[in-house]
């Protein structure tokens, strides 16, 4: 493309690329590969334990034929036989669905509405973005305070007896989690989609109005088809983002015990399994991370397949 003579000599280029490349190799590529292998190794107790060999059979961190849930088991619980992991998988799956349909859906509705108004669009954008810049940990505490037994929501639901932790039990725990995660990120996709709408050329609207298209027809046959690629990238971002959510569940459900395994998500469980000093902590944590990565790849592949981009 540009063959400017001043960029013929390559020596400065090396200096430009090396620091960033080294950092990425040492702190991203090397640990990433190392983590992958760790999932198939055996370890002593704790996160800094030394590798003692390879799992036998090699997929033991995920599923082991010799594992039995009866009686005391001191070793590593294979992921697929671990109720906490299955609960985490289910919760994360629900979060991903909520992210795709509620986060992106709500932000699509709101941005279509903001396209109608003449004034105040930038004010809405500013306000909607507030929850995203705030740390999810602080917001998690906010939702805890909102939903706790003395919080206003329970207070005004009169049929709930005082002191009953309604929103942390097995039936209702998901509600605060879904509301908080969806609520926090709507503004993010709102800004992206609203900008996409702004970029639609005025000529098209003119043509539509000459043809006598109604408001609904403009939305349905013009705006949404033209937004398709933007919505696709939002869906992709929302789904992979929900898969990796950590801060909010971490702050919402601080103390999860073996009695309340239904509150785990993949992220929080990964931290707990890697950090708690147990046999094979490293390989269990690594296995959960591998699951997150594989699910991320499958999800993006699936989304790309279902919502294929179109060129207009």
């Amino acid at each position: 493309m540009n063959n400017s003579m001043l960029y013929k000599k390559k020596r400065p280029l090396v200096l430009f690329l090396i620091p960033a490349t080294l950092l990425m190799i040492i702190f991203l590529y090397y640990p990433f590969l190392s983590n992958f292998f760790n999932a198939f190794r055996t370890y002593g107790s704790g996160i800094t334990a030394q590798a003692t060999g390879w799992q036998d059979p090699w997929f033991s961190a995920f599923w082991s034929p010799s594992y039995s849930s009866e009686g005391f088991y001191s070793g590593q619980i294979p992921l697929l036989q671990d109720p906490a992991f299955l609960a985490a998988l289910k919760n994360t799956g629900i979060l991903v669905l909520a992210a795709v349909f509620l986060q992106v859906g709500l932000s699509l509705v709101l941005s279509l509405l903001v396209d109608n108004v003449r004034h105040g669009a930038s004010v809405y954008r500013t306000i909607y973005f507030f929850p995203i810049v705030i740390s999810a940990t602080a917001l998690g505490l906010f939702f805890q305070l909102l939903f706790k037994d003395y919080g206003p929501i329970q207070h005004y639901l009169t049929n709930v007896p005082e002191g009953n932790a309604l929103f942390t039990d097995e039936k209702h725990y998901l509600l605060p989690l879904l509301i908080s995660v969806v609520w926090q990120y709507v503004g993010f996709y709102f800004v992206i989609i609203a900008t996409g709408l702004n970029n639609i050329s005025a000529d098209l609207y003119e043509a539509a109005s000459i043809d006598g298209a109604s408001n609904w027809q403009v939305v349905w046959y013009l705006k949404i088809p033209l937004l398709r690629n933007t919505i696709n990238s939002c869906i992709l971002l929302a789904a992979t983002g929900a898969l990796k959510v950590y801060d909010m569940p971490n702050a919402l459900f601080p103390a999860i015990t073996s009695n309340t395994p239904w509150r785990w998500t993949l992220g929080t469980l990964m931290y707990e399994r890697a950090y708690t000093p147990r046999i094979n902590a490293v390989s269990t944590g690594a296995a959960i991370a591998v699951v997150i990565v594989v699910l991320g790849i499958l999800l993006s592949g699936f989304i790309n397949l279902v919502c294929r981009d179109k060129d207009y």
């Binding site: 960029y7 983590n35 507030f130 609207y205």
Partner: protein, 330 residues
């Protein structure tokens, strides 16, 4: 802006109505956080929606919660209040550490990422396409999949030999022992460094991608003219590219800042000593403590979010620009 498709009045009114409704969920939340930060626990339990009307002594209503928050933020495990009052855990110091960590991450991302983006935008070299994929792929690595090996890398001295160190020793005949630095007794600057390095590496890729696209759009003639005048390549970067590409550097910087400042996952792994806590890390402890002072919790949320909101309001435009750039790139 676009007169051609301005909607009818009823449509606009309904639109405003719904948009205001969603805005209210955010504004009322902030308002609710604000008013309750001035009340004591009993008051909040009794009535969390009225304006605080009793201003009494410290530790109760009024500014008492803030006084408490700033004076003695108690991390768990430090039950002895007097110990805490010595001043180590003061909020200002935690702001300072948080800002320092994120500030260094931002500077690192802008300088190193800027160099890399400049090289990518201007030079042709063998394997450039491959290098491009190298950067894009690294954006897909979640922190979950890298953090434990990084943690072990920082703690490979106690008999745990990092395969990387083993490889170096075997290949180069060196006698490296590995580090042992992520412990509760590590000095604060070491703990901060262990947070900075992974965060820096993790934020590089996004910044490089958006900066490369921007620098590529700058006409090369100016640089050629400067080169003719005897300007060296690094000088061209600092004197020409940096000023022209300021908007994209602002975007990359503000995003790196927010990601780093709010990233509790890395901080939770590497900030083990309460003396090295940042405000976000402390927020997590407040959120996970049980049966504590409710007013203090409200006040600490406000303390935690106000500086970030101010930074957001200042750099709003850069954030919006970066978002759309990032989304277009995918």
């Amino acid at each position: 802006m676009k007169e051609a498709h301005s909607a009818s009045l009823p449509v606009r009114i309904v639109s405003h109505f719904v948009l205001i409704l969603w805005s209210l969920t955010i504004i009322v939340s902030l308002y609710w956080l604000g008013i309750n930060s001035f009340k004591n626990t009993d008051y909040i339990r009794r009535d969390s929606f009225s304006l605080p009307n009793q201003v009494t002594k410290a530790g109760e209503n009024g500014l008492g919660n803030y006084e408490l928050a700033f004076k003695r933020y108690t991390p768990p495990g430090v039950a002895n209040d007097k110990k805490v009052e010595q001043g180590f855990y003061k909020v200002l110091a935690m702001y300072g550490r948080g800002l320092l960590i994120s500030g260094i991450v931002v500077v690192g991302v802008l300088v190193l990422g800027g160099f890399c983006a400049y090289g990518m935008a201007r030079y042709n070299f063998k394997g450039k396409q491959f290098y491009h994929y190298f950067i894009i792929a690294s954006m897909m690595f979640p922190a979950f999949a890298t953090i434990v090996p990084v943690f072990r890398m920082f703690n490979s001295a106690n008999g745990v030999i990092d395969p990387f160190v083993v490889f170096l020793n075997q290949t180069f005949g060196s006698n490296l022992k590995g580090l042992n630095i992520t412990t509760a007794s590590s000095p604060t600057w070491v703990a901060m460094t262990t947070v900075i390095l992974p965060q820096l590496a993790g934020n590089l890729a996004f910044s490089i991608v958006i900066m490369t696209a921007y620098i590529r759009g700058i006409p090369v003639e100016l640089e050629e003219a400067a080169y003719m005048e005897g300007c060296s390549i690094p000088r061209i970067f600092f004197r020409i590219i940096l000023p022209i590409a300021k908007p994209v550097f602002a975007t990359a910087g503000i995003f790196s800042f927010l990601w780093s400042f709010n990233d509790i996952f890395t901080q939770r792994f590497f900030l083990l000593n309460p003396k090295s806590y940042t405000i976000t890390r402390m927020m997590m402890d407040i959120a996970t403590q049980r049966g504590v002072n409710l007013g203090l919790q409200f006040a600490s949320i406000i303390v935690c979010i106000v500086p970030v909101l101010i930074i957001y309001l200042i750099f709003q435009k850069s954030i919006v620009r970066g978002l759309t750039a990032g989304a277009v790139k995918g």
